[in-house]
Structures are given as C-alpha cells and as structure tokens.
C-alpha cells in the first residue's frame, strides 16, 4: 500500500482539527492489515468477528479523518437508494 505523503497527512490534520497523528497511524495500520490475509481463503467465525470490529473502527476513523469524503459518500449512497 502506497504510503501517504507527508503533505497529505498535514492536509488531513488541517482539515480535521480534532484528528491526531496517532489516529492517522491507526487508520493506516488498519488499511494495510487488510492486505495481509489472503481474501480468497476461508476464515473461521472468530476471524470474521475480529475483522468486523476492525472494519467498524476503520469506518469510524475514516469519518473523523475525512469528513468531506464521508459526506460525499453519504450523498452518493442516498442517490443510489432513491
């Protein structure tokens, strides 16, 4: 996964004053982790549960770090469900 450029990290923190560098790091870690498990091999229920919790946390961080993108995504989803 391509690392975020330093200027992009700065932009995130400027656009989302409540966000912290630690949250960017956690977000990046959760994103990178998704690629470390073969997605085409079956996984047990425990693994699925853990994955869901991580996905939920990823979405939570996404909302905090990229509020504008989140709003765009919501608008897109609304458009699709209309």
């Amino acid at each position: 996964m391509e690392p975020l450029k330093p200027q992009h990290k700065r932009q995130i923190l400027e656009a989302s004053p409540a966000a912290t560098p630690q949250e960017i790091a956690e977000y990046e870690k959760l994103l990178a982790e998704r690629f470390t498990v073969d997605p085409d091999l079956p996984r047990g229920p425990e693994s699925l549960d853990l994955r869901q919790r991580k996905t939920d946390r990823l979405k939570e961080l996404r909302r905090k770090l990229f509020p504008e993108a989140e709003a765009d995504a919501d608008a897109h989803e609304e458009g699709l469900t209309r």
């Binding site: 996964m1 977000y27 073969d38 995504a73």
Partner: protein, 304 residues
C-alpha cells in the same frame, strides 16, 4: 468474448527459450468497480487515454529495472535477472462495464485502488497471456493510492526450498493467483516498485509487509521489545535488526521492528520512502532480508 482492440506490447522479451517465462503484465484497467464489493461497474477513464497508460507502463517498467533518475534499488537490473523477465503491456478499450472486465475497485474506506485479484488470470487468458505479477493501471478521478495483494502460491507444485529461522518454506515456481497491483496512471517515484515488493511475496511462503505502520510479524517485520540485535536467519545468513529505523525512528508505541538496512541513511523501500532525509525517495533501497528474499524468489521463478 475476445476484446475488440487489444494493443499488446512486449516491453521486455524475457527468456524466450522458455514456454512460460517469469512474466509481469501491465494492463489498462477496462472497468472500475465503484465502490468496492458493490457490483456496480463503470468504464475506467484510462481506456480513453492511451497516452496516459503508455506513460504509466513505461514508468512501471523503468522503476522495476532501476532506471529512474537517482534510483538506487537495482534488484531487477541485475544482468542475470533482468533479461529473463518478460514484461507485457496491454491497452484495451470498448469492453462493457461488467464484472469480468473489472480489474480495479475503488475502496469504500479510503482513496485506495484495490486490485480485484481473481479477475486477472481469466482476463489475461483471453489474450493468451499469463502473469506472475500483474499491474492494473486506473485513471480513477477520486482514488489515487496504489495497493497490492501478495501472491497465492501453488503449494502443490515444486519450488526452491529455503529456511527462515529454521522453518522450511519454498520459493514456489507457480502461483494460483498472481501478485496483483492496482495503481493510478499518475503514480510516481518508488510506488510501483514498493507495490512489486508486496506482490511478488507470498501469503504462504513469506509476506513482505508495509514497514511504515506497526505491522504484525512477516518476512521483513518482527515484534518485540527490546529489539534484539539479531533479526532473522534466512538460510544460513544471520541478519541483524535495524535498531533505530534509519532516520525515522520507531514510534514509542510500536512493538514491531525491522531488518538491517543496506543503506542506513534512508528508509527501507517497504517503509515510508517519502521520508528520505534528502527528499529523494529514489535513494531508498530494500532492507537486507527483503532484497535477498525477493532476489531468490525471482531467481527461482526465472529458473523454472
């Protein structure tokens, strides 16, 4: 269905004496799944911009073979390796916005492009091609960051045995699913080579993971504090740890640590190469164990 207009270009002929030389394919992504895992498909803008695709394909080929200005990582430039690697680009237009033509998805939780890894081999088969590693180039208007899936090796077939800390593994000759990269047409610097490091590595025989996050154990990453002086024994070679993480330093909350660098003045290529202290990411090289592992893995495959 045969695509109407494939423009297939052999960028590097590779070992023409072999029926199945180690092959890297670079494909213009015909169709985007947007968003990922929704089954909604749109034609990728790259299909109407062959110049952008050609430029991206040349960039990928150049960085793979160490040809960028100032580039120091020369893994595939080795004269015993480079000439044996076949690189083929495929530019395709006019395919319908369907699942079977979609090699790249737009992530829902980030601006990452995601390779739809299981589509690649059937797609390439339509052109009578195969790949060990494949790049799909997109011109998505919203998603610009590259990502890669590791190779799913065919562990039922043979390879070249090696040991990692006493555990027997194999550089498999063949894969079930190739290493796949989704990359934007505007990608630059070391990005395509960083993703190649992931894609060439293996889910079952050694993963080369990102070092700029606090990753879990893998070929190039271990966990524990204090950091021991010895990182790992690869075959008979004892590799030291990178105790200080070059110029970046390990954040205080991290538990992961890395292998000794080839050039301790610069971040490892699988680390945050944008943080090169001289602001020249092309100066980044792989750490010692990653370089050896990837070189051996390529050698095994070109020797099959």
């Amino acid at each position: 269905m045969t695509p109407p207009n494939p423009i297939v270009t052999v960028m590097n002929p590779g070992d023409t004496t072999k029926p199945d030389p180690f092959t890297i394919c670079i494909i213009s992504n015909p169709v985007l799944e947007a968003p990922w895992k929704t089954g909604q498909f749109v034609v990728d803008p790259i299909t109407s911009n062959q110049n952008a695709f050609d430029a991206a394909a040349h960039y990928i080929c150049d960085v793979l073979f160490g040809r960028l200005a100032s580039q120091r990582e020369q893994l595939l430039a080795d004269p015993t390796i480079g000439p044996k690697i076949r690189v083929v680009s495929i530019f395709v237009t006019g395919l319908p916005a369907q699942d079977v033509n979609s090699l790249v998805a737009q992530d829902t939780d980030s601006n990452l492009l995601i390779a739809r890894r299981t589509v690649f081999l059937p797609f390439l088969k339509r052109f009578a091609l195969n790949a060990d590693v494949a790049y799909a180039v997109s011109a998505s208007p919203t998603h610009m960051r590259a990502s890669a899936w590791y190779t799913s090796d065919d562990d039922a077939r043979s390879g070249v045995a090696f040991t990692l800390d006493g555990v027997s593994l194999s550089h498999r000759y063949y894969c079930l699913i190739p290493g796949t990269v989704a990359i934007h047409a505007t990608a630059s610097s070391m990005t395509a080579l960083h993703e190649f490091g992931h894609a060439l590595s293996s889910y079952s025989n050694g993963m080369v993971v990102d070092l700029y996050v606090d990753s879990s154990p893998a070929l190039n990453c271990k966990v524990g504090r204090p950091i021991p002086p010895q990182f790992a024994t690869y075959d008979t070679t004892v590799n030291a740890s990178d105790l200080i993480r070059d110029s970046i330093n390990y954040p205080s909350g991290w538990s992961s640590y890395h292998c000794q660098l080839i050039d301790p003045g610069f971040p490892a290529l699988m680390d945050d190469y944008w943080l090169a202290p001289d602001h020249v990411p092309e100066h980044s090289q792989h750490d010692k164990i990653t370089r050896q592992f990837l070189a051996d893995r390529v050698r095994a495959k070109i020797g099959r």
